[in-house]
């Protein structure tokens, strides 16, 4: 690959930025109706977009994710890039102790493995059962109707006494001896993908961290290849949960674990095909795990499938792309892949000139031979 330094174009580049800003603000020309998009409006009304950017940016900062969405005109890849650029300017102060997701304050919890699970299934906010039809009434939604909708729901919602936390479905299966044993050892330090390059083979903690901040579509595409037949995970969702995880850190004075805040996250645990007994043991189900910042169920499910596929690939050798750690983990990052695709727009004059020269020479030689 050959690059060439160029000069000039400064005015055009400044002009391109100004044109983009013009497009962002041109609605204001229409008169009083067109105001700037408020960060709070993005946070609330485009919440899945914000969730996607915090997850793919790898930083749980919903306000800055909303700002990044605003400045990038809704481009999730650019927004995640801006969020990562911001994080690179901040010092790392500390790491939490390993937090247990059974402490999540849930807003949704379902299982496709069992009708009845301890604590019950709660659909929470979901469009799973909604008709995929356009709601044309939202085309001209009045502020009054908008406000009334939330108020009416709040006034009609039932008083509920529910536990603060719910048990995990996997724990119940494990107690019955249907799952593989817990492999973690105390004090194990996870792999930090923001500080160390991926050199294969990588630890499972590196794979999980990479997939947690992967681009949703990339993760889904590779998981989908496994679902359609380039693989044989055949998952059942033991539990899918969405909720707020308290972020606990030792108190600076007392040392007691204290809540510094909370993050909205999605977590999925899948049970897959069982494995034959290994020496002295019983056959058990295989399992996969996925989790990400924000409410993004497709991403968590895809990650859980790929976690299982990668475990299989690492154990038996990859039989298809979704089981190959190098293939999966090096191709799912949105900022990396977007950067590579975008770089093709940059001047490649020397590279292409070289290609032209070689083609002309080859054509000439072919002509001479003919």
């Amino acid at each position: 690959m050959s690059y060439v330094a160029i000069k000039g174009g400064g005015c055009a580049i400044a002009g391109a930025a100004a044109v983009t800003e013009y497009l962002r603000t041109e609605q204001g020309l229409a008169g009083g109706a067109g105001g700037p998009l408020q960060i709070e409006a993005i946070l609330h009304q485009l919440r899945h977009l914000v969730d996607r950017v915090v997850s793919e940016g790898g930083v749980y900062h919903p306000q800055f994710a909303a700002l990044a969405i605003k400045q990038s005109l809704g481009d999730t890849l650019e927004a995640a890039f801006a969020l990562r650029a911001w994080r690179s300017t901040r010092p790392r102060l500390t790491a939490t102790p390993p937090l247990d997701t059974s402490r999540m304050r849930l807003i949704r919890r379902i299982s496709s493995a069992f009708k009845e699970i301890p604590g019950g299934q709660m659909l929470g906010p979901t469009q799973d059962y909604a008709l995929r039809l356009l709601r044309l009434e939202l085309m001209d939604e009045s502020p009054e109707a908008f406000r009334a909708m939330a108020r009416t729901w709040l006034e009609s919602c039932p008083e509920a006494r529910l536990p603060d936390t719910f048990p995990k479905v996997l724990d119940a299966l494990r107690m019955e001896g249907l799952l593989p044993p817990i492999t973690a050892t105390l004090g194990e330090t996870p792999f930090d993908i923001t500080r160390e390059p991926l050199i294969f083979p990588v630890a499972r903690s590196a794979a999980l961290a990479t997939m947690s901040r992967a681009e949703t579509g990339s993760l889904l595409a590779i998981a989908y290849s496994n679902m359609r037949g380039y693989g044989d995970v055949h998952p059942t969702v033991a539990e899918l949960r969405v909720g707020y995880l308290p972020v606990l850190l030792p108190h600076p004075v007392t040392g007691e674990l204290t809540e510094a805040g909370e993050v909205l996250m999605t977590e999925c645990e899948v049970v897959a095909m069982f494995e034959p007994a290994v020496a002295g043991g019983k056959p058990v189900f295989t399992i996969g795990y996925g989790a990400c910042f924000g409410h993004n169920e497709v991403k968590a499910i895809s990650m859980a499938i790929l976690d299982r596929a990668l475990q299989k690939g690492m154990q038996d050798g990859p039989a298809n792309p979704s089981e190959d750690p190098e293939f999966v983990l090096l191709h799912v990052d949105g900022v990396d892949s977007m950067g590579f695709a975008s770089h093709y727009k940059m001047p490649h004059y020397v590279t292409f000139q070289s290609d032209l020269d070689r083609l002309r020479t080859t054509q000439q030689k072919s002509g001479d031979l003919a």
């Binding site: 790898g58 709660m122 509920a160 600076p252």
Partner: protein, 155 residues
């Protein structure tokens, strides 16, 4: 107020940061404030235990501000406070550490801090109530077709 110290920050942060900063400034007018750990804004790394094999891994980062202070009153009384808060706001961490110290040592003005903790805790409980309502309103009891007396009826 029955809330334990470990829950004060969550309760206090239910209030807007400018209100907490103003309260901390007001209550420390006659105090000497020593920063035993400088107010700092940066990132924390979130370590999770995965649900399948209980292995630790990093889910991602979050904005974090920290501070630790020691307050000294003219009468010789002293108090230590500290805060780690999920925010990109070192000033807020400093204010929270001050308010924490005042409340922990019952320094003058602690009643105002206590009132803020209580009202903040109430706001948090309202938030929890709304989340519980989302669960309660959508609790589902799936039944296999043919196993109920009146299939098609909604319970």
């Amino acid at each position: 107020m029955n809330l334990k110290r470990k829950n004060w920050i969550r309760a206090l942060t239910a209030h807007p940061a400018p209100a907490l900063n103003a309260l901390a400034d007001r209550l420390t007018a006659g105090c000497e404030i020593a920063l035993t750990s400088l107010p700092q804004a940066g990132l924390g790394l979130l370590t999770l235990t995965d649900g399948a094999f209980h292995e630790p891994y990093y889910l991602g980062e979050f904005p974090l501000s920290t501070c630790r202070v020691e307050l000294a009153l003219p009468d010789g009384r002293r108090a230590e406070g500290g805060a780690q808060v999920m925010a990109d706001d070192a000033e807020l961490a400093r204010s929270l550490a001050i308010l924490e110290a005042i409340l922990a040592a019952r320094l003058p003005g602690w009643e105002q801090v206590s009132a803020h903790v209580e009202s903040g805790a109430f706001q948090r409980s309202e938030e929890n109530r709304r989340r519980c309502a989302m669960l309660a309103a959508t609790r589902v009891d799936f039944a296999l077709l043919g196993n109920t007396e009146e299939d098609g009826d909604e319970d």
